[in-house]
């Protein structure tokens, strides 16, 4: 079993394999299940992601009314042709927002690696499908590659906002997506690791401060930021830019920052944006004075 990103990319490089293959083979070894069974389960997860993206673009609203319908606005904006960013980025934003609006509305999503950060990976993946000719199999591979990097973060640090803040959720998701984007675009495993490191570095210190404790504000918009950050990091890595701090050390830094983060900023709905006058007012309106 690979225990670090270094081990993961060494394994891929020495056996001349894609990271997605290394992840698949480990899954077969650990579970004793067949290639086809594992592949089908991942394909099913991809289908859930696709349905969520479509549902959100069609327009959903959460029961509180705090989030929803912004994916519809993004889609209209893209169609107007007036977008400042390139279409790939715009679609990544739209699909990330869409997925998290569905999540906030208690719809069905696939956690990647968590529900609060579930928009990032599908966001960039379905944006790639909009703009590039990629096969279903490449999309499934994308998820295995993302999973391989997330696996290391989950075991060596944390993917929980309550334990490590938003950097552990949207930060991890963004880094996972960056690594998978690099592989999909033909980069080497080492370049994937640099993409991962750059993306995670840009998200270090991000706190988990949901207003009224709901996975709505600022989670939905942070997924958009995580998605566009993944594209930025992937492009930098593909350009040959390297992270000065190795990926595993960035993961360790993220873990240590999480340990020193006060509990008010770790998914308790007390500090940060949750503690602003507007955040407090929303909480009082929804749940009454406490």
């Amino acid at each position: 079993m690979f225990k670090s990103i270094q081990e993961l990319i060494d394994q891929a490089a020495s056996e001349n394999k894609a990271i997605s293959d290394v992840m698949m083979e480990q899954e077969m070894a650990v579970t004793g299940r067949s290639y086809l069974d594992i592949y089908k389960d991942m394909e099913r997860n991809l289908e859930v992601m696709e349905s969520a993206v479509e549902e959100g673009i069609g327009g959903v609203e959460s029961t509180t009314g705090l989030t929803g319908m912004d994916a519809v606005k993004m889609k209209k904006y893209i169609d107007s042709g007036k977008g400042l960013s390139g279409e790939l980025t715009l679609y990544a934003i739209a699909h990330a927002v869409s997925t998290n609006e569905v999540n906030a509305a208690m719809g069905k999503i696939c956690a990647t690696p968590t529900a609060g950060s579930a928009g990032v990976v599908p966001g960039v993946l379905f944006a790639m499908r909009e703009k590039h000719d990629i096969s279903r199999e490449e999309m499934v591979r994308f998820l295995f590659t993302s999973g391989a990097f997330g696996f290391v973060v989950a075991n060596n640090a944390s993917i929980s906002g309550a334990a490590g803040g938003c950097q552990a959720e949207v930060g991890s998701a963004s880094a996972m997506a960056a690594a998978a984007l690099v592989e999909m675009a033909g980069g080497t495993p080492e370049m994937s690791a640099h993409g991962f490191a750059i993306a995670l570095k840009n998200m270090l210190g991000l706190v988990c401060d949901p207003v009224a404790g709901l996975v709505e504000v600022p989670c939905v918009k942070r997924n958009a930021a995580g998605a566009s950050n993944a594209l930025t990091a992937a492009d930098m890595a593909l350009a040959g830019i390297e992270s000065r701090i190795p990926a595993d050390e960035v993961v360790e830094a993220m873990y240590k920052i999480g340990l020193t983060m006060p509990s008010a900023l770790r998914e308790t709905g007390r500090g940060g944006l949750a503690g602003t006058p507007t955040g407090e007012r929303i909480k009082a309106e929804l749940f009454g004075e406490q």
Binding site: M1, K3, M23, M24, Q26, E27, V30, T31, I38, D41, M42, R44, N45, V48, N103, A104, A105, M106, G107, K108, I109, C110, A111, T112, P113, T114, A115, G116, V121, L143, F144, S146, G147, A148, G150, F151, A154, N155, S158, I159, S160, G161, A162, A163, A168, M176, P210, A212, G213, L214, V215, E216, S263, R266, E267, T268, G269, R270, L286, F287
Partner: protein, 221 residues
């Protein structure tokens, strides 16, 4: 390593909005139900840390109830679990605890049906992954990834050997085992994780072994 499968990271498929506070909570409820061997008539649910602070916003309450009713993370019925609990006459109450536990996402469930009682302490560690950290106040570590036997037994010599001999004679391999007790000579708890599910006949044999008080089977989740 706490996370073993790629589907711990890309997954679970679930009803939103939070993998730790909704999906994890449903799994804690579901695992408690499985350990109890069915649906309780009444449950006291103690919430700690982030679970206590944000359970209303995350649907942690409906997810725990949904799990206790037997619903998995992707089951839409979680949303209406409160009404469904009423229909199937399962009573519950939530108790907010100020005290800090070792993990910020902790729930302690006290399940009751007639004279049967069971207390399960679960933690939700992120991405929908959970662990059971104590049963009836005995510290244990159970991932729910493998079938397991929980054997309450007299804390005296020979009992562990008798139980493992029964498993060995039935060609059942133990993957992980843990023994915990509260006081010397009192009742102790053996937690045995297994590679495969186990026949009812074998469980009966374990139940009948000298020194064994109570056996709970946990199926793979």
């Amino acid at each position: 390593m706490k996370y073993k499968s790629v589907f711990d990271i890309i997954g679970p498929v679930m009803v939103g909005p939070s993998s730790s506070h909704t999906a994890g909570a449903a799994r804690i409820g579901l695992l408690a139900r499985s350990l109890f061997g069915g649906q309780p008539d009444h449950v006291d649910i103690y919430l700690y840390g982030s679970f206590k602070d944000t359970y209303k916003g995350h649907g942690t309450d409906v997810a725990l109830i949904g799990g206790l009713l037997g619903f998995d993370t992707d089951d839409d019925r979680i949303i209406t679990a409160e009404a469904l609990a009423k229909e199937s006459s399962m009573q519950y109450q939530f108790i907010e605890m100020e005290e800090e536990r070792s993990h910020p996402n902790t729930a302690v469930l006290h399940l009751v049906k007639g004279s049967e009682q069971l207390t399960v302490e679960g933690i939700s560690i992120g991405g929908g992954k959970i662990e059971v950290v104590s049963i009836n106040d005995y510290p244990i570590n159970l991932s729910g990834n493998y079938p397991a036997l929980l054997v309450f037994h007299k804390d005296t010599f020979g009992t562990i050997a008798r139980v493992t001999t029964i498993l060995g004679n039935n060609e059942i391999n133990v993957s992980q085992m843990n023994v915990a007790r509260k006081e010397k000579g009192d009742v102790a708890l053996m937690t045995i994780e297994l590679d495969d599910t186990i026949d009812e006949a074998v469980i009966e044999e374990v139940r009948a072994a000298s020194g064994v008080d109570r056996v709970i089977e946990m199926k793979e989740s």
